[in-house]
């Protein structure tokens, strides 16, 4: 589908960006090119659609040398997504999604229909977005459109150059999941450049780790985690994953730093509504200075409401004693949870302000990582 054969890129000043790179990518595979900055991963990607011309070697696109295509024809066979999104600010979302179709001379009506189709594919409401302009959308929404735009002409191969690198972590994870889901339905071959190992591990079928223009290791994520080829790979995985023993992980590393909070004077019904909205079963109660005052649990709030007690959130706040310090080991948080039989433990800094919240699932993630490092096998086999 996409094949690199001894591809080199040398610049006139003597620097070698890509050195003897060979790689075969099969149909429907999502390959993540990863490495430190300057390792040649972006250059490798840009050589595929000839935004950069290789110095030597061959890149085969659908089994044909990519120099045999006219660059414009070649690029229209490929999808292209970049970090800065690059939506056309003067065109509506519909026109942006169908931009390649416009370049190809497809009629406006068909372009519109295709844009609608694609919006449905990712569960966005076409009526809500299609006639708006890029600047009216958030960064995450814009890149969703950026990805759809690359699908409009139904290319077999999509090139993605750090597409989610500029987004905040929460949105990034959402888009990664969406891409993975999308990939399952559309079966595209995707070459995905990233510098974020978490991202690569999350979405890639195969990870290609590069350094100084060369491939250091190309392997499935699981294999790379279990058997890093050398110290560089191990370090690269380690640095990005923070795989440490659970005892070394600090509370600050695993806590959620924006838990649902309410001021002590807030009403109980308000608190109930807030919990319903955010789908949590407790809120952190703070005073006007942001100092932690306790946890208001759903059951306490509903009981007080049922009894018609004239109380405020501050009056039902309890469990202040469960709090841990950000520098405490994460295991302390676990101890608190088990001892007090609670699902979450508040994190309070020296000055008494609420710093975050450690939940059971966050701790489970730490344990999971720790188990992977030690290579522990599941116990179920023993039974």
């Amino acid at each position: 589908m996409l094949s690199f054969q001894d591809v080199c890129k040398r610049y006139p000043d003597g620097t070698t960006a890509v050195d003897q790179l060979s790689l075969d990518i099969s149909h429907g595979e999502l390959v993540a090119l990863i490495g430190p900055s300057g390792c040649g991963k972006s250059t490798t990607l840009r050589m595929v659609n000839r935004l950069v011309e290789p110095s030597s070697g061959t890149i085969l696109v659908d089994g044909r040398d990519n120099r045999a295509y006219h660059p414009v024809e070649l690029r229209r066979r490929l999808g292209y997504v970049i970090q800065q999104v690059g939506l056309m600010p003067h065109l509506t979302i519909a026109e942006n999604i169908a931009f390649v179709l416009r370049l190809q001379g497809v009629a406006p009506k068909q372009r519109r229909r295709r844009a609608e189709e694609l919006m449905h594919l990712v569960g966005l409401d076409p009526g809500l977005y299609l006639d708006r302009y890029p600047r009216e959308l958030s960064g995450g929404q814009q890149q969703r459109i950026g990805v759809l735009r690359a699908l409009a002409h139904d290319p077999d191969i999509i090139l993605m150059d750090e597409p989610f690198g500029a987004l905040d972590p929460l949105i990034r994870e959402q888009l990664q999941d969406e891409l993975k889901r999308l990939q399952k339905t559309v079966h595209k071959t995707i070459l995905f450049v990233t510098h974020d190992m978490d991202e690569a591990l999350r979405i890639a079928d195969r990870i290609v780790l590069m350094r100084d223009g060369r491939i250091v290791q190309a392997a499935e994520p699981e294999q790379m985690l279990r058997a890093p080829a050398d110290a560089f790979v191990a370090e690269f995985i380690g640095r990005h994953r923070m795989l440490r023993q659970a005892s070394e992980v600090a509370v600050a590393d695993v806590m959620i730093d924006n838990p649902v909070t309410m001021e002590v004077h807030a009403g109980l019904a308000q608190a109930l509504e807030r919990m319903r909205q955010r789908r949590v079963n407790s809120v952190m109660v703070v005073d006007s200075g942001g100092r932690f005052a306790g946890v208001a649990r759903l059951e306490d709030v509903t009981r007080a409401l049922e009894q018609g007690l004239p109380m405020r959130v501050g009056d039902v706040a309890r469990w202040a004693q469960t709090a841990v310090h950000p520098d405490d080991p994460a295991l302390n948080a676990m101890r608190q949870m088990l001892w007090y039989r609670v699902d979450a433990v508040p994190v309070v800094a020296e000055d008494g302000t609420l710093a975050g919240l450690v939940t059971r699932s966050a701790l489970a993630g730490v344990l999971d990582d720790a188990l992977r490092v030690t290579g522990a096998e599941p116990l179920a086999e023993a039974r």
């Binding site: 070649l74 690029r75 970049i82 690059g86 939506l87 056309m88 003067h90 370049l103 302009y133 690359a150």
Partner: protein, 214 residues
């Protein structure tokens, strides 16, 4: 004095009207030529970077020459007096703001937008027509606007080399120390400048793509 002015308008109304029309095409012809030359030339200069210093340098030089000197220069290079040298002077004088804004507008298109368009397979013409020009249009029109307003002012001076227009009325009034005649030339010229400014402002807004309007 206002009475004199009124008197002058009522007796010489037709003459003032004709001079206003003359002024209009003294401005319009060189302006159209300047747009037709400056915009394509500058677009070429955005593609051939070596060319731009020349294009902006020369048009800048023309604008730097004091207007009066520029008009007299036309006579000394053998164009004589009348409409032709005035038109040539106005033409070269009008180039610079258009060149500058066209360049700034096109060079100012975000690199990621261009990268995306090229990476998606836009041809050079498609890049220009579908991406760069629509995005630069507002800035180009702003250049034409400042060029036009400056030209209307400049055109009143063209009467000095016998090109006619409202300037000739002003000169005549000054010669006769008759304020009414001076005003009869000045007021239409001022109105013309304001109308041009207003119309171009509207045009600028109207031609700005909806997605870019603030």
């Amino acid at each position: 004095m206002w009475q004199d002015l009124w008197q002058y308008f009522s007796t010489h109304g037709y003459e003032v009207w004709m001079l206003t029309l003359q002024q209009l095409y003294i401005v319009a012809i060189p302006m159209c030529a300047a747009i037709l030359v400056a915009v394509p030339l500058t677009i070429v200069a955005t593609r051939v970077p070596r060319l731009y210093p020349w294009v902006i340098g020369i048009s800048n030089a023309f604008q730097t020459i004091p207007s009066m000197a520029l008009l007299v220069l036309m006579i000394t290079i053998g164009l004589g007096i009348g409409l032709l040298p005035a038109a040539v002077a106005l033409f070269v004088y009008a180039l610079m703001p258009i060149v500058r804004n066209t360049y700034v507008g096109i060079a100012g298109v975000a690199p990621e937008v261009k990268d995306a368009a090229i990476g998606m397979g836009a041809t050079k013409w498609q890049l220009l027509w579908l991406v760069e020009l629509p995005l630069a249009l507002k800035v180009i029109i702003a250049g034409i606007r400042s060029s036009l307003v400056a030209s209307i002012g400049f055109a009143t001076l063209a009467a000095l080399i016998g090109a006619g227009g409202l300037g000739s009325l002003i000169l005549q009034g000054l010669g006769m120390a008759d304020n009414a005649i001076v005003l009869a030339g000045t007021i239409p010229a001022v109105i013309m400048a304001f109308v041009a400014e207003f119309v171009m402002g509207r045009l600028e807004r109207w031609l700005t793509p909806k997605g870019l309007r603030g």
